[in-house]
């Protein structure tokens, strides 16, 4: 019930904002929709507190009879956590938009954003592989258009590359899904095929090891491009840099969680034998990604591009946690997904503020901002410390659990992972030092007081990071239940 509303509300918002009548009040209308969506996600949270299996959280209808695809949603566990993340990040994104940033067609930007929120909400909530794929692909179109319309230099080439990469990946994923779908016929005597998540888990076990490996890699390709895991990442830094900053927030804050979520619930439990066979290789790829991205981040001059690499390093850790296939690793991954969503949004928000106040985001051209605006630099520092997983921040809980999970597989993985985390502290603290501390660089910029909306958004982010760092159980108590039921 509530899942339907969570998906339909942004869709209604999409159509409403496209109407010319709302051109003037686009911002207010958009904030109304994401705000209501956020409240709804909190209601879903409240319902989960009473009973995770209540009928208000589930819905199941026939959708396409010809292929037995269902509209099957369940708002609980990790899905709930990511739904809340999706709702909260979009509030922050829409708050960060400045007057006239998107010109006269501002309403189109908001509309596309809402469409994207709707598609990603669907990805997180659905229990049906077919609608999963539909939502997955649907989420690509609005972000592509946002990049194409409002992106920076060379946007045509970069967005095309982004589109093709992810599209190729997801087509292979679809082929893998269809193959599994045909195998679900073996599960019952009548030979009825189904797209249901639990049927996929059963059908996957019926495949021979060779089939499992082929299908595993086909589906993995789809998720790996989106995350991105190491050799499939080359679209990511360019795209993150070329998107308008709100688009980057959407991509890094929520969209890459789609890949991680898919890895967690649509791949690892479906084909466990194939994972077992390839686990070392996959962990190696993830951790190479962490180290590679951290080293690349060290040498960046553009703060936005640095964050793109940093984000890639962080998600490499998360995917390692998932691929460890242990309960702690998964707990850590689900915690870290939320934490990463919040602090990466905060960091790109900071990039936006740099551009707005000083007109540049080159690390070398900035300096001494702490002397100009102490409040901003304190908030930035907390978000930054959250991103390098200092204890008492939410990121710490996640990263700690992931490393515990990895140590269950083999101690050497845990050592490799924890040593690569240090690199994160290096590039983050170094860039903070250069941009915020020291003397004001002799360029003519000022850094005045923050606007109220920016201030409160940063406060909200900081509050999330610290509150959940102290009391991670607030979200973990739901995700743990789902994880326990899957990794028995």
């Amino acid at each position: 019930m509530i899942g339907n509303i969570l998906i339909l509300l942004p869709l209604i918002g999409f159509f409403v904002l496209l109407m010319p009548a709302f051109k003037e009040s686009a911002r207010r209308a958009a904030l109304f929709f994401v705000g209501t969506e956020f409240l709804l996600s909190l209601i879903a949270y409240g319902l989960n507190l009473t009973d995770g299996n209540s009928i208000f959280l589930k819905s199941d209808y026939n959708w396409i009879n010809a292929i037995n695809a269902h509209w099957h949603l369940h708002v609980t566990g990790v899905s709930l956590v990511l739904a809340i993340l999706n709702a909260i990040v979009f509030v922050l994104i829409f708050l960060s938009v400045d007057k006239n940033q998107y010109g006269e067609n501002e309403n189109v930007f908001y509309a596309l954003g809402l469409l994207m929120q709707m598609a990603m909400m669907g990805v997180f909530l659905t229990r049906d592989a077919f609608s999963f794929y539909i939502f997955w692909e649907l989420s690509l179109i609005p972000i592509y258009l946002i990049g194409l319309k409002w992106g920076e230099n060379n946007k045509e080439k970069i967005t095309l590359k982004f589109f093709l990469y992810t599209f190729i990946g997801s087509l292979f994923m679809l082929a893998g899904f269809i193959y599994l779908y045909h195998h679900t016929a073996l599960l019952n005597e009548k030979g009825i095929r189904s797209w249901d998540m639990l049927d996929f888990y059963e059908a996957g076990k019926l495949l021979t090891p060779t089939q499992q490996t082929v299908i595993f890699w086909m589906i993995f390709l789809g998720f790996a491009v989106k995350i991105p895991v190491f050799p499939f990442h080359s679209w990511q830094p360019d795209t993150y840099t070329a998107m308008p900053v709100q688009g980057t927030m959407m991509l890094s804050g929520v969209m890459l969680k789609m890949g991680l979520y898919g890895l967690m619930f649509w791949l690892v439990p479906v084909l466990p034998a194939a994972l077992k066979e390839w686990q070392s290789f996959l962990l190696l790829l993830s951790l190479i990604g962490v180290i590679y991205a951290s080293l690349s981040a060290l040498v960046q001059h553009d703060f936005k591009r640095l964050l793109a690499y940093a984000s890639m390093a962080h998600v490499g850790m998360i995917s390692a946690g998932i691929l460890s296939n242990t309960r702690q690793g998964w707990d850590g991954a689900s915690t870290q997904m939320f934490a990463h969503g919040i602090y990466v949004t905060g960091l790109f928000y900071v990039v936006h503020l740099f551009e707005k106040h000083t007109g540049t985001r080159e690390i070398g051209k900035l300096g001494g901002i702490r002397n100009l605006n102490g409040q901003f630099s304190n908030l930035f520092l907390i978000i930054l410390l959250g991103s390098i997983a200092l204890p008492l921040t939410h990121g710490f809980v996640g990263e700690f659990l992931i490393i515990v999970g990895l140590s269950k597989v083999s101690l050497s993985w845990a050592i490799l992972a924890s040593s690569s985390v240090i690199l994160g502290a290096v590039y983050m603290l170094r860039s903070y030092q250069k941009m915020m501390l020291g003397d004001v660089v002799k360029t003519n910029y000022t850094f005045g007081a923050l606007e109220n909306k920016d201030k409160w958004s940063l406060f909200l982010i900081v509050a999330c990071i610290i509150f959940l760092g102290i009391y991670p159980q607030a979200l973990n108590m739901f995700s743990t239940l789902t994880i326990q039921s899957i990794l028995k």
């Binding site: 959708w63 396409i64 009879n65 010809a66 292929i67 794929y133 539909i134 692909e137 649907l138 690509l140 179109i141 194409l148 319309k149 045509e156 095309l160 589109f163 093709l164 599209f167 190729i168 087509l171 292979f172 679809l174 082929a175 269809i178 193959y179 779908y181 045909h182």
Partner: protein, 462 residues
């Protein structure tokens, strides 16, 4: 069956317009006639009409009714989009009646049960098309297109006749049930197989499967754009029904003799069409190659070796999705380019000049590229999932790779729309009410069929 008669009658009435001087009403008359025919189709559903007087030459069962409805919807939208093609007082009668007669041929082709009706259908469909392709008399390219189409099409008809003759020689009958019976015996002469291949060649020519596709880009480019739109929709739909009926059902006993030939044809055309389309600068040529690519994907149904309602559903859905997307994209290009050359450049900056047209064209192109939630995605999905249980699983990979190339060239047009073109900012595009309506209807059809595909893909139940 009544629908066919209605269209024939309307077509004949338009010929009389010159004598009785009612030229003004023939455009609305043909629109009403098509709606009437559509109503007849709905009324006759489940009647299984068959023309007993002439050896069941025409059989209007549910299959024929469903596909002829797709044809009628397509032509209805087409007539609405190409109203200015019928503005010219001197040629309105020829234009209208030729279009209606080619529709008659197409409708005959979805309901044939006899090799003679097959030939008649193909010819009634094609001959008006030859004339229409050359209907822009003052344009040398249009003349070339008509001439080329005529010459090449006549060759194809020759092949078709030769094939029919060989099959007749082998079975002693034009009736396809008898032909099927003859093919399933052991004593059937070997030249019957040659006949089947010849018919295959002729039909492959009509739907432009490589290597019989060479006429397509030139004819598509040379013809007036509205005729290109007509050509790429109703010809494909109707001839594919013929191909499905012949090569999946009637010639089934000889299936193993030709299935490999078809698979090679598909492979060649998937590769040639998609790679050639990458380099095109003219929208009509690009869409010509895209139509070859779509034809080869539809052809995959033949090698799937599945003979039940799901194949028919898949073809019905594909032809519908493809026809509507084609009509939409040709319509937008037609409205934007007006009388200019239809290079991709004319789309430059369309997003800023006329967002409505740009978004519609984008949805149509995304549908052709097969991206959810548009109808084109489900069309491709149904075809490829049919293939999943056949012996040609590897063809799925080829088709997927081909679709990826497809995305590249469709997005090339989308990119052009987003490019900022300062120079031609002042040329305003104005749409009449008809033109608005046709775009709105077809985009709605694409999206609704994409969200709830059951309305079409569940027409024939098990």
């Amino acid at each position: 069956m009544m629908a066919l008669l209605v269209i024939v009658i309307i077509g004949t009435i338009t010929l009389l317009a010159e004598i009785f001087n009612f030229k003004k009403v023939i455009y609305p008359l043909s629109l009403i006639g098509i709606l009437l025919a559509l109503g007849m189709n709905i009324k006759e559903w489940n009647n299984n009409f068959s023309w007993r007087y002439s050896d069941n030459m025409v059989m209007y069962d549910n299959l024929a009714l469903a596909f002829s409805s797709v044809l009628l919807i397509t032509v209805f939208l087409w007539l609405m989009m190409s109203k200015n093609y019928f503005n010219d007082e001197t040629s309105i009668i020829e234009h209208t009646s030729l279009v209606l007669y080619s529709l008659v041929g197409a409708m005959l082709l979805v309901g044939f049960n006899n090799l003679v009706t097959l030939f008649l259908g193909i010819e009634i469909l094609s001959i008006p098309m030859y004339v229409l392709a050359a209907s822009n008399k003052k344009n040398i390219l249009s003349n070339e297109a008509g001439f080329k189409y005529l010459i090449m099409g006549s060759f194809a008809s020759g092949f078709l006749l030769f094939g029919i003759a060989l099959l007749y020689g082998a079975s002693g009958s034009f009736n396809l049930s008898d032909v099927q019976l003859a093919l399933s015996t052991d004593i059937v002469p070997k030249f019957a197989y040659a006949g089947i291949i010849m018919i295959l060649i002729a039909l492959a020519f009509k739907v432009s499967i490589a290597p019989f596709h060479f006429w397509t880009p030139d004819v598509y480019e040379g013809s007036p754009i509205v005729i290109t739109a007509l050509m790429s929709t109703i010809v494909k739909t109707s001839v594919f029904v013929a191909i499905m009926k012949l090569f999946l059902w009637y010639f089934y006993p000889a299936y193993n003799h030709y299935v490999e030939v078809i698979s090679i044809l598909i492979l060649i055309s998937l590769v040639i069409s998609n790679f050639s389309a990458l380099k095109q600068q003219n929208t009509k040529r690009l869409l010509a190659f895209s139509s070859i690519s779509h034809a080869s994907i539809m052809m995959l149904l033949i090698i799937s070796d599945v003979r039940n309602s799901s194949t028919v559903n898949a073809l019905l859905y594909y032809t519908f999705a493809y026809s509507i997307a084609s009509i939409t994209s040709f319509a937008v290009i037609h409205f934007v380019a007006k009388d200019k050359d239809e290079q991709i450049n004319v789309l430059k900056g369309l997003m800023y000049k006329h967002p409505f047209l740009a978004i519609s064209l984008m949805i149509a192109l995304l549908s052709m590229a097969g991206i959810p939630i548009t109808a084109g995605f489900f069309a491709k999905y149904y075809v490829l999932s049919q293939l999943m249980v056949s012996g040609y699983k590897w063809m799925i990979i080829v088709a997927i790779l081909a679709s990826i190339l497809g995305v590249v060239y469709y997005l090339k047009m989308v990119l052009a729309m987003f490019e900022n073109d300062k120079k031609s900012e002042n040329i305003a595009i104005q749409l009449s009410r008809n033109e608005w309506l046709v775009i709105v209807i077809s985009v709605l059809l694409l999206v609704v069929a994409g969200i709830y595909p059951d309305i079409i893909a569940y027409t024939f139940k098990q």
